[in-house]
Symmetry: C2
Subunit: 233 residues, 2 copies
């Protein structure tokens, strides 16, 4: 184990980031996990991230608090904005939804870059995907490529050695069904994960927000069964 | 005042960021200030940032806490690493110093981007400068340009309107002497500012770390007097 290269994995505890962690391990990396608490209403996902990290034997898992005041104006952080429910796939793709959190992946990747450099990791994994991406600008391949070019100029390691940190987005071109199939192949225990934007007090998923619908459609298309609890009705 | 466009200004409370704030105001922006607490040993600078923001009539000043665990390995955050003292200008430029904080400007700019988008600001000011920059990779013009290109793809506003947020680095090609002269021209009260990496318990600057030496050399070259207190001896 001691000789495996370290990689920082952004881990929300959902289906995508958990599969991403499984891929990082399968590729021979020793994962360091990084999870954020940013005032999201679905903070049950932080507990999911802890369960997932434990299950994968992650030895260093940082849960970093971010000042929610910076991220105002999203349904994920503002209790006065309703999470949209029951939207069709066409509606999801048509515009940037109210669940968009300002500059979220830029902040997450920037923090991952700091953690990577401070821990001598030369790789970062992020579970964005551009197909079933729910309309977020910072899930597109051209965005990830631009972040990589910026990172190549940003760090002490980059100045010393050229490319210092490589951003991996292994799910970027995969459908949710392909992600479920890949996770199954790698033995992911989906019961540990949490995806819903608006779970109830017992942690049961609503089944109707964009995130739940993409997840359920993915399991259905993969011919797999989602083992987590969904609220009735 | 109501019609002035808002700009997020990264404000450490030092000479450069204070001059940057003065420039943003002089250019007709209503500044929102953003300061970070990241376990830096010179947290007296946060009080300086508060004084400076008050003096400039800043109506929104966010002091955001960042998890210091992400930024290990710098003399500015690790009490076991000594801040270098008494280095010459040649020594400062020769290598990336131990005071380098991993990916700091990337994290700061990412957070500023989130704050800008959440507050309908289309401009960000950062007081980096490439001449007297003490050897940091993320103070170079090519780094700022790469961040701009990434930001152009990162946000909802960018997707809707093309360039959504413009990064201004007005000090990037200025010497410290030119920064002091510009600050004097704009009426900056230097006694409010704090620059030292390693101030004593009374907040007096050491006069010998890289930051103090660049500051003192700047005042000397500008033919100006620095009014802050320096430790004796």
């Amino acid at each position: 184990m001691r000789d495996e290269p370290k990689a920082v994995v952004l881990l929300s505890g959902g289906l995508d980031s958990t599969t991403c962690l499984a891929i990082a391990k399968a590729r021979g990396f020793q994962p360091l996990a990084l999870t954020f608490r940013y005032g999201q209403r679905h903070d049950v996902e932080i507990e999911a991230a802890r369960r997932v990290a434990r299950a994968f034997g992650v030895r260093r898992h940082v849960v970093a608090a971010l000042d929610g005041a910076l991220f105002g104006g999203s349904a994920l952080t503002d209790p006065d904005i309703d999470v949209p429910k029951g939207r069709s796939a066409d509606q999801m793709g048509a515009d940037i939804p109210v669940t968009y959190v300002p500059a979220r992946n830029t902040v997450f990747l920037a923090m991952a870059l700091a953690m990577a450099e401070a821990n001598d990791a030369r790789d970062i994994f992020i579970g964005v995907n551009a197909l079933d991406y729910s309309g977020y600008p910072d899930c597109r391949p051209e965005y990830i490529e631009a972040f990589q070019r910026m990172a190549d100029l940003a760090t002490a390691g980059a100045v010393r050695d050229g490319r210092a940190v490589t951003i991996h987005a292994p799910l970027i071109a995969m459908s949710k069904a392909e992600i479920v199939a890949e996770g199954n192949r790698l033995g992911v225990d989906w019961s540990l994960t949490s995806t819903c934007y608006d779970p109830d007090r017992d942690g049961a998923a609503c089944g109707r927000c964009d995130a739940c619908r993409l997840r359920l459609d993915g399991f259905a298309a993969a011919g797999a069964v989602d083992p987590i609890a969904y609220a009735q009705g």
